[in-house]
Symmetry: C2
Subunit: 333 residues, 2 copies
Amino acid sequence: MESSQFVLASRPIGLPSSANFRMEKVVLNDLKDNELLLKSWYISVDPYMRGRMNSAKSYAASFEVDQPIKGGIVAKVIESKSKSILAGDVVVGTFPWATYSVNKTENLRKIDIEKVPPGYFLGILGMPGFTAYVGMMEICKPQKGETVVVSGAAGAVGIVAGQIAKLQGARVVGIAGSDEKCKILKEQFGYDEAINYKTSKSIRKEIAGLCPEGVDVYFDNVGGEITEAVVANLDFHARIALCGQISQYNNTKPSVGYSILPHLLTRSVMLQGFIVSNYSNRFGEALSQLTKWLNEGKLKYTETIIDGFDKLPEAFLGLFTGRNQGKMLIKTE
Amino acid sequence: MESSQFVLASRPIGLPSSANFRMEKVVLNDLKDNELLLKSWYISVDPYMRGRMNSAKSYAASFEVDQPIKGGIVAKVIESKSKSILAGDVVVGTFPWATYSVNKTENLRKIDIEKVPPGYFLGILGMPGFTAYVGMMEICKPQKGETVVVSGAAGAVGIVAGQIAKLQGARVVGIAGSDEKCKILKEQFGYDEAINYKTSKSIRKEIAGLCPEGVDVYFDNVGGEITEAVVANLDFHARIALCGQISQYNNTKPSVGYSILPHLLTRSVMLQGFIVSNYSNRFGEALSQLTKWLNEGKLKYTETIIDGFDKLPEAFLGLFTGRNQGKMLIKTE
């Protein structure tokens, strides 16, 4: 059986390009006991994968040059030597960026796609949704009447984080990169206010105007100048969930900015850097609560789906130009 | 009754100077019921007071121009109309920088100076000691075998923070501003290693060498480049107690430095900005534990005492040049 896969052709310096990826053919082995043949259906591209393209030590192991990129994938089971998962089932797991792959039962999880689109298991009911859930519920803990700011608000995580804060009774201000994103945040996702950072004359002043009593919670997906602007507006005892720093992922040297520590000190701010796997003991709770809210219509979600396995690098690169609204996915057929 | 007092003559811009203070005479009223006449004995100068000299909103109320500076003072009771505190008693409280002052019973606390020097109630058994205690025990929570770094290690707070970490079984590295300070940290206060940041060619590399498995806990009193150097060496799940930023207090504009957030993110670091009054419910516990450790000889302390009430501005300014080892105090007689 032949499959196509993307390998890491070279480690990017700065912003990645399609030259850092190479598509190649690979022949799959026949199935052994407990193995399944999977056909990739929806493939996730996520900002954290940029870090895995570097060789530097980080929280997730580096991708190896000439080896397949791996990420979250929803796949159809084509053939099965598993006892619990059968041909025709739909599964989710971390698999190679390949049209077909072979994997073991214990590395994947069967999903029920009757009520929700399959891609949701890579978004609101997957890693990004769990990230928003634990970041907001475990770290930020917004209280009724508090003011919450979410950066990267229209992204796969941010769009959920803001809605969860609303469900806790908070007032939520989103920061995003286009007027259209700001519009959907307010009209479709219940954000109270939204700031287009690309056209704002002063993000700091705009936040000050929209948050006259200060910011109690900041869910940060982006870092950089946006974060400096939010930090300047923090109220006493504010909490920051440091979830992502997408504005910094392609830096070729450490970035320089205004020191935020004096603000964090004088406002008694708590900041927690985190990755979702730190909270894996809460994934069951997160999945069940997010599914419940989704079924009750209390949470909404959106996806940017690009057709074609060969578009994977392009979709990934689009994350850094803000091409996506909500979850960015490749659909293979 | 006439007293001398220091008032804030003007708000400093940048590094304060003696011109920002003015000594003047004041006539005290006769005592009313419940009031006491106090003679200042030991007067505390503390870095946080720099913030109070600004008009900007912060955690402590601003000093007012032409009004007396107030701070921690150990005083002798000269005359008393209180039922519980008598002439001859020694008390501690927040009083004006004055040779004599009148205050009410509920604003002061009687102290027992038989076993410890009076100034300790402004240091290890006062605000700086409580700060070290809650910062280390409540925020940093060092575990046996972990590596702890303390900046401003030879200061009033740092000297205690490091010893508390040692009592928890951690390995402790101090950062201080002279070879002599480094020497006493290791020889008198049990620090395992000490770095003189003023002569170090690369603080970051020196920390890396002394902390080969990374830094688990950082107790930050100083901010700026020292903090950037420590942050670059943090291990996964490190904790930072953001206690002070003395390197930044005299900035006339926001300081610029390397962004630390990418490090805090990829290492899942928790940072908590704090002031000791956030933990006032634990002062009783702190006082009792610190007193116990002190009496058992498990904690040591040191003071830099300058004689003469008129030297108050000079002592305060000395904090910013690192003139003190341990607690900086004025003794009035």
